[in-house]
Symmetry: C2
Subunit: 301 residues, 2 copies
DNA sequence: TAACACCTATTCCAAATTGGAATGGACAGA
DNA sequence: TCTGTCCATTCCAATTTGGAATAGGTGTTA
């Protein structure tokens, strides 16, 4: 027996003065009400209502219990409403986790726009490149690149993060522009160590041929800005996400190379603790992000 | 699913930080806790706890709900305790119903003693000779004479109410003392109309022979004191309950007659609205009354 | 007085639900 | 790598659930 239902039936019975009416009120049958109230009394060990074929009357205990119950039921309803409101509302605290580079260049402006649309939100935007436990850290959404660890998390595909090979015009003038990936072996290749943990680069040609080449260079960093800065300083060639290269391409400090070959794009996902019941602030944010990760989103960076 | 149990499990899970521990706390298994919390979340339509293989963490909604729940569970426990206390306590209001004559002469002094023993009680002692609906009137205990209407009420036998035939010595001297019931036809018989609604009296002889005789007289009343007063005023003979006659027997204003014949005794019962769960103030009173309705209780009146 | 309307309690039963055991998958610490 | 612990899921027997039907009581009305 659901005791809350029992309480509701008891209260309705008191207020309508009849089990039958209470039953109709709640779309149940009279025997059900009889049984619930009887079970409630049995659990309490005391009689709440004296019944007659003619009607009901509260016992002294029943009267006291009724008063208390009304308050309790009110509170329960309050609690439910509280949940509904919060769940439906795009407001409250929203903790977002993202990688440093993407976060700084791409996510930050998007979030600023999102905040403009939802002034009720209190955003906590955390930048971490290492793996974090969403549940332990209390993070509502994380934006993750590359392969997802298959776990119990919920995830939504946001878009692709394409990469390109770049170098500065000055470097190319001095060392020549490579025409095929294999020529990279003659160049100084700057590595973003987080993604290219070995010294290997993968390409796909126009004819869909896969190429994997080894290369070496004088700089490895887990910070994309640093790698970009090195490229702009004519230190060598590098594989960079388009969004990192974009502004430097625009100002001419950096040029694409090997544009006939494609570097593997990373998948961008929004990840959240559970796929079960997603608060609307979370789903609203994810939809918003999805809108903005269209085909050439990285040009805006 | 009992929602109150679900709330309890949820709260315990939050407080112990683990479904398994919460389960042990409440002597249930972990799958049960999982299911209850999941069901609660489904009903609410929102996630309360984010789970990990490593542990739990409250969602924002969960945190708010948890706070509310603690209060609710407290209130529920209060309500339960309130019921237990009141049910076990011999205190509060106690409404008693009784017939006028018995109430005035017998019940009143008993109740006064009962009140002395239980000062917490607030007694409402109502005298009515007509049938009253216990439930409708909110009466906790009624003392009833004679045959019980078989209904859903609870009842407990308290004792017998014996009757006797009496007359004043002066009357007997003037009209003679009847030796057998049939001689009553020559006497003026005063009737208590409530019991002897016809003009008929029933006797049982020493040899267990039943006798039914008709008689007539100059007074019928539904008030026993009136009938007694008439007997004391030498107006005739009457059948009276022993307790009514007792004091007049002691002061010699009235004498028993036909003492070889027995009048039918009434049964005295305590009657209460329901036999299901009897508040202890009620059962305490009934036990008290039972003690005092021993074989010759009426001598004290 | 009989018929009726309406009440609660009880019984019976098919259908749904319950809680536990077993199992699976994930993770952390030794 | 092994072990212990965590939560989720599945499966199943046993219980419980709620409604239809019924019983039994009481006041109202014709």
């Amino acid at each position: 027996m659901d005791r809350i239902i029992a309480l509701q039936l008891f209260v309705r019975a008191v207020e309508t003065g009849s089990f039958s009416k209470a039953a109709r009120d709640v779309q149940l049958t009279q025997p059900t009400v009889t049984k619930h109230v009887a079970a409630l009394e049995k659990k309490l060990g005391a009689r709440l209502l004296n019944r007659n074929t003619r009607g009901l009357s509260l016992t002294e205990i029943g009267a006291a219990y009724y008063e208390k119950c009304k308050g309790i039921l009110e509170q329960i309803e309050e609690a439910d409403n509280l949940v509904n409101l919060r769940h439906a509302a795009v407001s409250g605290r929203l903790r977002i986790g993202t990688s440093v580079a993407l976060g700084r260049r791409v996510i930050t402006p998007l979030i600023l726009e999102f905040m403009r649309r939802h002034p009720q939100l209190q955003i906590d935007l955390g930048f971490v490149d290492t793996y974090v436990d969403l549940v332990a850290q209390g993070i509502d959404v994380a934006i993750r690149m590359g392969q997802l660890a298959d776990s119990s998390l919920g995830a939504r595909y946001l878009g692709a993060n394409p990469w390109m090979m770049v170098a500065s015009p000055k470097y190319l003038k001095k060392h020549g522009t490579p025409k095929t990936p294999s020529e990279l072996s003659k160049h100084n290749v700057l590595f973003y160590s987080t993604v290219h943990s070995d010294d290997r680069l993968h390409f796909v040609s126009r004819e869909s041929k896969r190429l994997s080449i080894m290369a070496k260079g004088t700089l490895r960093s887990n910070n994309l800005s640093t790698v970009l800065a090195a490229v702009r300083a004519d230190m060598g060639v590098a594989a960079l996400p388009n969004y990192v290269a974009a502004s430097s391409l625009r100002d001419g400090k950096v040029s694409p190379i090997l544009s006939n070959f494609t570097l593997p794009a990373q998948k961008i996902h929004a990840v959240y603790p559970s796929p079960k019941q997603v608060a609307s602030k979370v789903s609203t944010l994810i939809s918003f992000l999805q809108e903005h990760f269209q085909s050439d989103w990285w040009r805006d960076s």
